[in-house]
Symmetry: C2
Subunit: 342 residues, 2 copies
């Protein structure tokens, strides 16, 4: 059973995936691109290599048949386990709980070599609808307090399989960085009675030099204090803290701006490795105080960080990143990339 | 001029290194190991390729001669600049200051291929004395509020040059993660009137299964909530918040336990890439409130994180790391590695 342990020096939780218990020699495995394709458990025809599916989009056929377009499965090497009762214990001065949670994989396409920025709009919309459904479903589990959706793309991004997939992890606590963002948003609201993200959207549209693109429901831009070169955020124009509340038209507009943003990055940076992350307010009644004002003061959004630089000791010690490309310059490159593509 | 920008969604600062202004194509340079040695600006005889030295340990000769053993220079590609007056400004809703600070490089040895875990004790002590001196000296600059010492070793660690070196960055603010650790330590003190790190040292010595080694002044162990596999902390047994207060015997004992810890990691993990980071209380009168109790409630220490796993979207979004090797297992591997080496 995995466990969750609290680091008392930073008030943040760590998942100790005890079941895997990697030995020193396990960290020295080099990947073989040929083997990777022939042995890919996410390709059609390999459904028997994964746990049975939770949900799929397919044209007829039966569950776990190979004629799917999108397929959701439990992660075979789950960081957390869904079975059991959450229990907490003290370990001397330390705090620990058993590793209850859920860890799902959304296999986005049967095509091993597809790239998200080349998906059709219909394909992207269908994928976003499935992701949205899974987030809503996982949030119904009363043990869970936060759902984190993310996507690792390319070498150096932390992806262990290259077949295009998104992961969703449901957690029995609100992680420290999510909490921190909620606290910052709340402090801004307490001072101004305005949503921090509304202010950001206004300022980015006014300044313009960090903008990448926009449509009637979203803007995509390089944040003023970009931690990473070409870091790109997608923020809705409408005030909503919780992504579960979006409707089909929102998802259609999101599909469009995600494709444009990812295409701009792919053109400007030659298909760079990246992480894509969804941020949304926690939903649990456990966190009433934290969630109380979020409807007004927080806003769900997406952050994309291309993995072009490697954070070293300075960044890991301080949390202060060194970004060698000003976001205004990055914005210009990305706008040009999109203009060239049209 | 570089600038420091505050991210309002996380209350943390980012360094925008405007002078470098890397273009998209600058991120696609592959390194050539042969070129790296022949063009290394840190090797003896290449002193003209670096800015003039600030400090050196040498047997006779003159500054910037090539007969040095340890050499301290300003970083040619400094993240921050030492010249100027710190000024702050609003950029709409955002906060910005000019990039005042210092960025020094301690070239640890003339030998390009040396590894820190193979340094002699005398060599390690001499190096630590130079580092200590530089931290003390940089802290005298009243514009500075924190000094961060760190070391990146090996591919994937963020090191841009492989010649063994340590970096020291002096900052005009207390970084968010450092602040967070101070706040956690203060909360523990407020509740218990005990230093959090004293409690950790006691518990680790009592539990024993996460210990790596100890001497009369320090312990080295795998923290209970290790974020990374084989993460190793070195904590002094004596209560001192500020590393500037250590004496020569402390540095000698530190040299010994650093060599042992790094040797254990090198043996168990076949010379892994890692980041080594010094944590010490900020010293500025600006931060009186933050610093007030630190003498009793905080303790300086060193953290070493081997870079065996690649943090992905989950970790970057939540700050919650997934560690596939329990620290108790890592402790056992490292103790065995040291036993075999003796």
């Amino acid at each position: 059973m995995p466990s969750l342990r609290r680091d008392p020096t930073s008030d943040s939780w760590v998942i100790i995936a005890e079941d895997r218990a990697l030995r020193p020699s396990d960290y020295q495995v080099a990947s073989d691109p040929h083997n990777e394709v022939t042995n890919c458990p996410f390709c059609p025809g390999k459904e028997h290599l994964t746990p049975p599916e939770i949900r799929a989009v397919r044209d007829g056929g039966r569950p776990n048949d190979s004629n799917w377009n999108v397929r959701v499965i439990p992660n075979k090497y789950a960081a957390l386990r869904v079975e059991g009762v959450l229990s907490r214990r003290a370990a001397g001065i330390y705090d620990e709980m058993n590793g209850i949670g859920a860890h799902e994989v959304v296999i986005e396409t049967p095509n091993h070599h597809a790239r998200m920025h080349e998906y059709t709009e219909a394909q992207m919309e269908s994928l976003l609808r499935v992701c949205h459904e899974r987030v809503v479903d996982l949030s119904r589990d009363l043990r869970m307090r936060h759902v984190q959706l993310f996507r690792n793309h390319g070498p150096g991004s932390g992806a262990s399989l290259s077949h295009p997939h998104t992961q969703i992890i449901a957690l029995p606590m609100v992680p420290s960085w999510v909490k921190r963002e909620l606290i910052c948003a709340k402090e801004h609201w307490d001072r101004t009675e305005r949503c921090l993200f509304a202010d950001i959207v206004d300022q980015e549209r006014r300044d313009g030099d960090r903008m990448v693109c926009e449509n009637d429901r979203f803007i995509a831009f390089e944040p003023f204090a970009s931690k990473f070169p070409f870091e790109t955020w997608i923020v809705p124009k409408e005030q909503r803290a919780d992504v579960r509340e979006v409707n089909r038209s929102d998802l259609a507009a999101l599909a469009q701006i995600m494709r444009d943003s990812l295409r701009a990055l792919a053109i400007a940076l030659n298909d760079p490795p990246y992480n894509l992350m969804l941020f949304s307010a926690p939903f649990s009644a456990h966190d009433a105080e934290l969630v109380a004002n979020t409807a007004a003061d927080y806003r769900w959004h997406i952050e994309i960080i291309p993995r072009l630089t490697i954070p070293g000791g300075f960044e890991w010690a301080t949390g202060c990143h060194i970004n060698p490309t000003p976001p205004e310059a990055a914005g210009e490159y990305l706008r040009k990339a999109l203009m060239g593509a049209r």
